[in-house]
Symmetry: none
Subunit: 178 residues, 4 copies
Amino acid sequence: MADAQPSTRLRLTMAAAQLFQEKGYHGTSVADVLAMTSLPKGSLYHHFPDGKADLARAAAKLASDVMLDIVTAAYEPAEDFTQGTTRLAEKFARLFERHAHWRACPVQTLLLEGPMEAEMAPLLQGWIDATATQATRLGHPEPDTAATRVWVTLIGCWTLADAQKDPAPLRAMPGLLL
Amino acid sequence: MADAQPSTRLRLTMAAAQLFQEKGYHGTSVADVLAMTSLPKGSLYHHFPDGKADLARAAAKLASDVMLDIVTAAYEPAEDFTQGTTRLAEKFARLFERHAHWRACPVQTLLLEGPMEAEMAPLLQGWIDATATQATRLGHPEPDTAATRVWVTLIGCWTLADAQKDPAPLRAMPGLLL
Amino acid sequence: MADAQPSTRLRLTMAAAQLFQEKGYHGTSVADVLAMTSLPKGSLYHHFPDGKADLARAAAKLASDVMLDIVTAAYEPAEDFTQGTTRLAEKFARLFERHAHWRACPVQTLLLEGPMEAEMAPLLQGWIDATATQATRLGHPEPDTAATRVWVTLIGCWTLADAQKDPAPLRAMPGLLL
Amino acid sequence: MADAQPSTRLRLTMAAAQLFQEKGYHGTSVADVLAMTSLPKGSLYHHFPDGKADLARAAAKLASDVMLDIVTAAYEPAEDFTQGTTRLAEKFARLFERHAHWRACPVQTLLLEGPMEAEMAPLLQGWIDATATQATRLGHPEPDTAATRVWVTLIGCWTLADAQKDPAPLRAMPGLLL
DNA sequence: CATGAATGAGGCTTCATTCAT
DNA sequence: TATGAATGAAGCCTCATTCAT
């Protein structure tokens, strides 16, 4: 009885998340999202009454949750914060390789462009907070500073990796943090 | 002989540079640029035959030159690389305060979005190279790594500052680099 | 046995009557009607199988019945036709004040716009006939002409009152009829 | 060198005036207007930057000017106000016959429906004022009341004529005014 | 009888660009 | 070199209605 395929709402959200990351908020049309999902026009506005901005919010939330899962997966099994950060960088490098079309860290294009920028900032802060929690757990003496430094560097490295079309800057990230 | 006011071409370029930074490439219309300059429609295509992409290239070049000037101004009078980097961060913090509407470091929106992304990467590399040259001049043992680290951190901090609407992350940047 | 609150069908009809008068037939969406009644989408098509046009017919009938009641209430206790007409004008002025958002005399927007205009004309004629009956009863020598004149003037005055956002033209109506 | 055909702007305005009178503001789509003029989509927004509402304003102004011309043509050659009013009614009856698709007096649909109702009221007042001026010129003792009565009755008769699909009420108008 | 998801045609408007003057 | 009218594809969104539950 369980649906084999995701709900209409989730399909739209996933397609939007991908497209916004590839082409940015203004660079993605709702027609693009619909084409990718083969859904009719009206469906979108049934599930997202506020339209494109609404869809972007849901896509950002989805992407943010993925980020949080990655943070957990990277630091949970680590023995110290540095090891966890190295694992985090590697995970992002692989993500970058797998999604060659992604630009910037997820959410960044929405942070830069969308009409709902104010709603994006807390998501980014949530990643820093989750990382700080892990830093505390792993006994880091300055968890907040460490977490901020990780994300500042990660965002900068992702940008550089995107510019160069090469994940090397992401892999070099742990070295930059020493 | 010097024009009291900037040429038509420069006025268009400056307006475009500002708007692309505020709203992104797709988020800025050529009509926006024309409205900001009070110039008629045809002027744009006279000065920029390839239209919007052409304008974006010129705007990016202009922004990039500003970046290079800032690098020079920050490191030239410095006694060591660290001092220069601190001056650089302060200059960016002031820039951020003066241009509250800017999003991301200049050029980043064009890097993420525009149809001429490939042309943006070399500009970013140029800033790193200029910084590496200064590092060499100031006797830094690993100029390339140092320069890369400066820009990675600067981009990350600018993103964070934009999200928080607060230049604090930019001012905290030198501390993150220790 | 009497329902404490109006039936679903009546709630829809009343909401539609109000909205059509405020915004016209094409200016009112079925979504507007549903929003005003907090009823779900399917309800409308259950009670009005032919959809919006069906709803408009019911709304027009409802509004027309109100008109007929007003005619009766105005002329029934009157001692002569002129006195009844004065009472009628006063009733309309009060109606206008109470429903500031109404435009035109009820039914007029449907008369002008809807896809069922042909069904509206008899309603208007019904008001004239009812008025003529009262004129006859009150001994007026030319009941049809008198009734026509009353309604022609009433419609014109309502239009003027709406344009001026002031019930004065309705109150001035008896004077115009002398 | 004189243009044989009206300007693009005027063609759009005339088509819009006709369509708004036939089908109302919301019942007329900008596509309808463009189809009638065989003009491309962009032209409309070049000449009417505020779009449909802008077009409606221009159409109303055009229709209003026609009304004023008719008033002048009816009363100017008249020997007294009553004679002028009779000529006016006859002109409207002919107009009604010629434009069988018109609903209500021109401007009324825009008065009832459009988003610019506040701008319509002064036009209607302008017709009354012009008529009052003629009444004064022709020696009527109460020009304002007379003019108001003419227009109230004209609007009411036009509405009735439209409902009945018969110009008779317009022709009967002078009789109602005695 | 009630509910809300699905549907796709059609709504208004903005877009980047071309062209005639 | 400067101007603004012309162009039509594409943008986002609302619409009335149907249908499965």
